[in-house]
């Protein structure tokens, strides 16, 4: 399963971070690394991007990019 498919309020664990180049480095730097627990908080009014919670703070990423992050329950 990928992060964009996770329901609001659900907590999941990251298993793999895909993507490449700057985007991938950005995601890793912000603490999205395998093993991190993430919760989907909210979806923007127009359906994209999404707001996620991790490591005690909130981050917003686009669904397209969230689709590159593999997660497990």
């Amino acid at each position: 399963m990928t992060l964009d498919q996770v329901a609001i309020g659900e907590e999941v664990k990251i298993t793999k971070v895909g993507g490449e180049g700057e985007l991938r480095c950005r995601l890793l730097d912000m603490g999205l690394i395998p093993g991190t627990v993430v919760r989907v908080q909210k979806v923007a009014p127009m359906g994209d991007p999404i707001e996620i919670w991790l490591r005690g703070y909130e981050l917003t990423i686009r669904k397209e990019d969230a689709g590159k992050i593999e997660v497990a329950k």
Partner: protein, 671 residues
């Protein structure tokens, strides 16, 4: 001594900088990039300066902010680093700290927002933290001005005694450890030659950081050897190089925090943010509340406070002009000099200066929106529609301000983190119809489209937006075909903006604008005055139809034949509109010899409803006024790019008006 202030975005860095320096600040630009560099003297200390480096999350070579920060630290070699971290979000903030420690420069950690952590039942064991990180740690609250003296004392201590960070090795024994140490060993001589720490060089080589690798001038053989160790590490650890390093750092951070941090329960500030967000980013309420907030800001800025202050200021300038005029007349000075002072300097600079209150008031609201954390929510809410045209949500606010005035709109693009987005937004802002064009629309709409005035207004605004969208689509495929910056943005808790930060920002923007008003804009208004006052033999003109400006108007008038209006007065008015858009109306009035009251009738002699509409389309889209052009010049940092934008704007206006006129004529022909 020079200290660098480094930290994440949204961690209170600017507030701390203001506390450290008071109003003793100097704003400049880093060479080559449009990233603000602020330097300030530490309060009560001659000779100790702090440089406020841009907020970043990691030392990567991607954004201007990151490049500026790393180059400043590596090349300028500050005597000490003050690394400010948000104690309520310590894990992610320490990620940058670890990279700074590797750079091997005397450093102090400022744990900001400690009051918030304690207030919500959390603690951080300072001693254990110091032991784990090997640097002094000082708990502070920048907003409440607590712990600042201790911080200054601590950083002076490490800087003057050259106390370097004691811990730089964050890796457990294992594949990553072996790899970093192997590379570090191989790169040691090169790193010492260019004066950077081998450990920093090694981790950046592992990350594939081109900026560092190039500066080290490694031989192919050395690069091969290092690549070999890295590939081995990837195989043994089961992770690729970037993931392995991020994992190593967060692993270390989790261990440190496990020992030294008792996490607070969900903080009051966070609960409050969640409650506010339940409305402001709600599925149905987000856009209405956004529009309501922006409407309020606009109404207060352009309708109430700004206009009131602007009127007051222009009244003051008019009084001063009247007094000066009388004084000059009494002195019996040459009438040309009198005209220069009154019609040139006072009228020109005065009309531009009357923008000043609007800019100050608008930036007052903007800095509140930014500092409170609402700007990040706007980006969150508006990202989707803007992504379609190749921009991200943050550009939306700048564009919206463009409806008021292009000058603050262009200035506000400073808050955009991607240079590409910034340039593209600046190019699109002039298409958004600013409030100074309203008198032109009102005049023509009343004269030619009495029944459909509102429709004409709405149509013009819509056309401006439509042309902006089309231009964005074209720009995205051509000039800005590069990859847009990834949209990975922190949503900070809502916070109460600090009065000091808001006041300082307003002061900065006002100063910036006044400086420009007296340089570029001053010269431009003098040129326009010169062209209006003299004829080709440099005699003062009696009839404004003989001036140099009118001559140029007559010269370029044929250009507008395909647009339907071949009249030198119309063309001349367009040229004078460059000084300020309202001048189009006053010039038409002067050249037709009609007063404001019967200007509409006089225009009927020049335009038909169709050509009037075509003229409006051209006015809507052609070059921004001199104040806006000067701002664009400053924000893009290039005269050529500015010239390009002006030419593009005029070109687009001509094509749009031409298509409109020809198509409409054709339609009328068949009707």
């Amino acid at each position: 001594m020079i200290y660098a202030l480094v930290g994440n975005q949204n961690c209170g860095k600017t507030t701390l900088f203001n506390q450290l320096t008071g109003s003793n600040q100097h704003v400049g630009n880093f060479p080559g990039v449009t990233v603000d560099s602020k330097t300030g003297e530490i309060r009560g200390d001659k000779g100790d300066a702090v440089v406020d480096l841009p907020g970043i999350y990691s030392i990567r070579p991607y954004t201007n902010e990151e490049l500026v920060t790393r180059r400043f630290i590596l090349k300028e070699r500050p005597d000490g680093i003050i690394n400010i971290v948000d104690a309520t979000n310590i894990e992610r903030n320490l990620y940058l700290t670890l990279q700074l420690l590797e750079m091997h420069i005397p450093m102090v950690l400022a744990l900001n927002m400690m009051d918030e952590v304690r207030g919500n039942g959390g603690t951080i064991d300072i001693e254990k933290m110091e032991e784990a990180l090997g640097i002094p740690v000082v708990p502070i609250s920048a907003a409440k001005n607590e712990g600042i003296e201790d911080l200054i004392h601590a950083v002076k201590e490490v800087a003057s005694r050259r106390i370097y960070p004691k811990v730089t090795d964050f890796c457990e024994k294992g594949a990553v450890h072996r790899c970093i140490h192997a590379v570090s060993h191989q790169v040691e001589d090169h790193a010492e030659r260019i004066g950077i720490s081998p450990r920093f060089a090694a981790t950046k080589i592992v990350e594939g950081d081109r900026d560092v690798i190039e500066s080290l001038q490694l031989s192919d053989n050395e690069l091969d050897l290092m690549e070999h160790s890295i590939v081995e590490m990837e195989r043994d650890s089961g992770m690729d190089r970037n993931a392995a390093l991020a994992d190593m750092r967060y692993d270390f951070i989790e261990k440190v925090c496990g020992r030294a941090v008792i996490k607070c329960r969900e903080s009051r500030e966070h609960k409050r943010s969640v409650r506010i967000d339940a409305v402001l980013t709600n599925k149905y309420l987000a856009i209405p509340s956004f529009l309501a907030i922006m409407f309020l800001v606009f109404w207060l800025t352009f309708g109430v406070i700004g206009t009131y202050l602007s009127d007051l200021l222009s009244m003051g300038i008019d009084r001063l002009a009247a007094v000066t005029e009388r004084a000059l007349a009494a002195y019996g000075i040459n009438p040309v000099v009198e005209s220069l002072v009154i019609d040139g300097i006072f009228a020109g600079v005065g009309s531009v200066l009357s923008f000043l209150p609007i800019i100050v008031v608008l930036f007052f609201f903007l800095s509140i929106l930014e500092d409170s954390g609402y700007m990040a929510r706007i980006a969150f809410v508006m990202d989707r529609p803007l992504r379609r045209i190749g921009l991200s949500g943050k550009s939306f606010v700048s564009m919206l301000i463009g409806f008021g005035c292009s000058v603050p709109a262009v200035m506000s693009t400073r808050t955009l983190s991607s240079e590409r987005d910034r340039r593209m937004t600046i190019m699109l802002i002039p298409f958004i119809s600013c409030s100074a064009k309203i008198p032109i629309y009102a005049l023509f709409a009343a004269a030619f489209f009495r029944k459909y005035q509102a429709l004409v207004m709405i149509g013009l605004y819509a056309l401006g937006i439509a042309v902006g969208i089309v231009s964005a689509m074209v720009l995205r495929k051509t000039l800005f075909s590069g990859k847009p910056m990834p949209f990975v943005m922190e949503l900070p808790n809502y916070r109460f903006p600090s009065a000091k930060s808001v006041a300082l920002l307003m002061w900065d923007k006002a100063k910036d604008f006044v400086q420009r008003a007296f340089t570029v804009i001053f010269i431009a208004t003098l040129i326009i005055w010169f062209l209006q006052t003299f004829d080709t033999r440099l005699n003062v003109v009696e009839d404004s139809g003989n001036s140099l400006l009118a001559l140029i108007g007559k010269l370029i008038a044929p250009l507008f034949i395909p647009l339907g209006f071949n009249d030198w007065r119309a063309a001349t008015a367009l040229i004078s509109g460059f000084s300020a858009k309202e001048a189009v109306v006053s010039t038409l009035s002067v050249l037709t010899g009609a007063g404001m009251a019967d200007l509409g009738d006089a225009l009927a002699g020049i335009f038909t409803p169709l050509t009037a509409a075509s003229y409006l389309v051209f006015t809507l889209l052609y070059t921004p006024c001199v104040a806006a052009v000067a701002t664009i010049r400053r924000e893009t940092g290039s005269a050529w790019k500015t010239l390009g934008i002006v030419c593009m704007q005029c070109g687009v206006a001509w094509v749009a008006a031409c298509i409109f006129y020809q198509a409409a004529s054709l339609c009328l022909h068949f009707l």
